[in-house]
């Protein structure tokens, strides 16, 4: 790479300025591209017909995309404006309290999948649920080498600082991460940089499903794995000393769930964990 510099444009929700910056960027690269093409054609005239055909295709394509041009800045602006007028300004008491602090009763692990946000599917309002979202809603086991400090930090903060009362792990249908886990070949070779190594956290779920449901179709096996993986994650939660202490003291409860967006249903279950009174032998 040659030298580089960072340019940061402050677009304080000001669409006219954003438009100007965008247009200038577009014109520069377009002119360069045209210049490059002209240069090539002047040297290789025989490419003229091919170039003409391709340019016609490109023009048609661009006409189509111009018709449905998506502006992320506008989308964010509009989204916030809707929230501000319909929610924030209409509930000053709630948002006033929230500005001072949060005391959510739930910590929720949900998949990063765009279709399964707990704010929608469980109608969580601001202040109700502390959320972690990652591929396949996985909770890795407690690791002192800080291999998974991201999840550890979230659990530590939620349990020790916010003192949440419930941890909920929600799996879902058609989970790409679980499908990836189920698709890892027997010899364990991986093709991705991160994804497969991450989903291997719930390898125990895959083994269980492959053993107990070996006669099912792959898609059904995946569905079972989605639920088993939630149980593996719940078990992994107990490897965190502060979680275990909370569960033993009954200040913390662990729950699993599975959202099936194909059938429009939700299953939910508790993880019961306790120690009976000891007896002398």
């Amino acid at each position: 790479m040659g030298g580089g510099h960072l340019r940061r444009c402050m677009m304080l929700c000001c669409s006219s300025r954003a438009g100007q910056v965008k247009d200038k960027m577009a014109t520069d690269s377009y002119e360069e591209a045209i210049a490059g093409l002209k240069d090539l054609l002047s040297k290789k005239g025989e490419l003229g017909d091919v170039a003409a055909a391709k340019i016609k295709n490109l023009t048609a394509e661009l006409e189509a995309t111009a018709a449905s041009n998506f502006d992320p800045v506008e989308r964010v602006k509009t989204g916030f404006a809707q929230f501000k007028t319909e929610k924030f300004e209409k509930n000053p008491d709630l948002y006033g309290e929230l500005a001072k602090g949060q005391s959510p009763k739930f910590m929720v692990f949900a998949c990063s999948d765009s279709r399964v946000c707990p704010s929608h599917i469980l109608d969580f309002q601001p202040g109700e649920a502390f959320m972690v979202r990652n591929i396949a809603n996985m909770v890795p086991p407690y690791d002192q080498t800080k291999k998974y400090s991201g999840v550890g930090a979230a659990i530590e903060y939620a349990v020790l600082h916010l003192k949440v009362e419930n941890i909920l792990v929600i799996g879902h249908s058609c989970c790409g991460g679980i499908k990836g886990l189920m698709s890892i070949p027997e010899d364990g070779t991986t093709a991705s940089d991160f994804i497969e190594n991450w989903v291997k956290i719930c390898m125990a779920a895959k083994s269980k499903v492959k053993n107990e449901y070996k006669d099912l179709e792959f898609a059904e096996q995946c569905k079972n794995c989605e639920k088993e993986a939630v149980n593996v994650s719940l078990g992994n939660l107990l490897t965190y000393p502060f979680v275990r202490a909370g569960v033993m003291n009954r200040t913390l409860s662990l729950k699993g769930a599975h959202y099936d967006f194909v059938n429009g249903s939700l299953e939910i279950w508790n993880l019961d964990f306790g120690v009976t009174a000891s007896q002398s032998a």
Partner: protein
């Protein structure tokens, strides 16, 4: 259900805990109380009921009401955004930016941090970026910081001698140390609250920069105009700032 603040429950938290214990003793679904008459909410908090109610509200008001919309989502997702937001219960992008199901692939962690590419230490974030950018090919990555962020406060409070009081939180927020150094250099003389606000925003910029250490992001930016944006939600003022982030590589000069 939509706007009923369960913070009402939070306000009466002590009373509710007492009520729950009472109900356990009674062993039934008795809704009346014996101990106090100043109860704002009648029934003790039942998490299972809360979840069931929440899902039913979604089912009736969204899932069943817009069958075509949800039918499309069953086939697959093609979100235009990858959003990094803090795990804080007050800053869900589905709420504050009104993202609908299918619009935004989401990563939520303490202080909305994006660490640099590291297959050993940060596989969680790596997997999210690899999938959303490399496979789903989102068009925009948005990293949103927010006011009064506990994670950023922990970063600011980290003692210089490296002593650690929060096992995991401190280790995680160290990702933001370069941003802290910058803020200390520029605003070290300001009060801590103001330093924290600057750090909340500077950490977003650091995360945007770290995004570029992932090959799928580099490729997306170079080949298909993948956009990187930073945001800051101030829930005290009720404002949202949005800015773009661009890295330009100049052609090399022969010296």
């Amino acid at each position: 259900m939509a706007d009923q603040p369960s913070n009402v429950a939070a306000v009466a938290g002590g009373i509710k805990k007492l009520l729950r214990e009472e109900e356990d003793l009674q062993g039934g679904e008795d809704q009346t109380t014996k101990t106090t008459t100043e109860v704002v909410d009648e029934s003790p908090f039942d998490p299972i009921e809360r979840i069931k109610e929440g899902f039913n509200h979604f089912k009736i008001n969204e899932y069943d009401k817009y069958p075509e919309y949800f039918e499309k989502l069953k086939e697959g997702q093609s979100p235009k955004f990858l959003v990094f937001a803090c795990s804080d219960s007050r800053v869900s992008p589905s709420r504050i930016l009104n993202f609908k199901p299918g619009e935004a692939f989401m990563a939520r962690n303490i202080a909305n941090m994006v660490p640099a590419f590291n297959q050993v230490r940060y596989s969680g974030v790596g997997a999210i970026i690899e999938y959303s950018v490399g496979v789903l090919e989102v068009e925009t990555i948005l990293v949103i910081g927010h006011s009064k962020c506990g994670g950023i406060k922990a970063l600011l409070d980290l003692p210089d001698d490296g002593a650690v009081s929060n096992d995991f939180v401190d280790d995680w927020v160290k990702i933001g140390l370069p941003a802290k150094a910058k803020v200390k250099a520029e605003f070290g003389d300001k009060c801590l609250d103001e330093q924290q606000m600057h750090l909340e925003k500077e950490a977003v910029n650091l995360s945007l920069l770290n995004l570029l250490s992932y090959p799928y992001v580099q490729e997306g930016v170079a080949r298909r105009n993948l956009k990187l944006m930073g945001g800051y939600y101030d829930f005290i003022q009720g404002t949202f700032e949005l800015w773009g982030f661009k890295l330009e590589v100049m052609p090399p000069l022969t010296i």
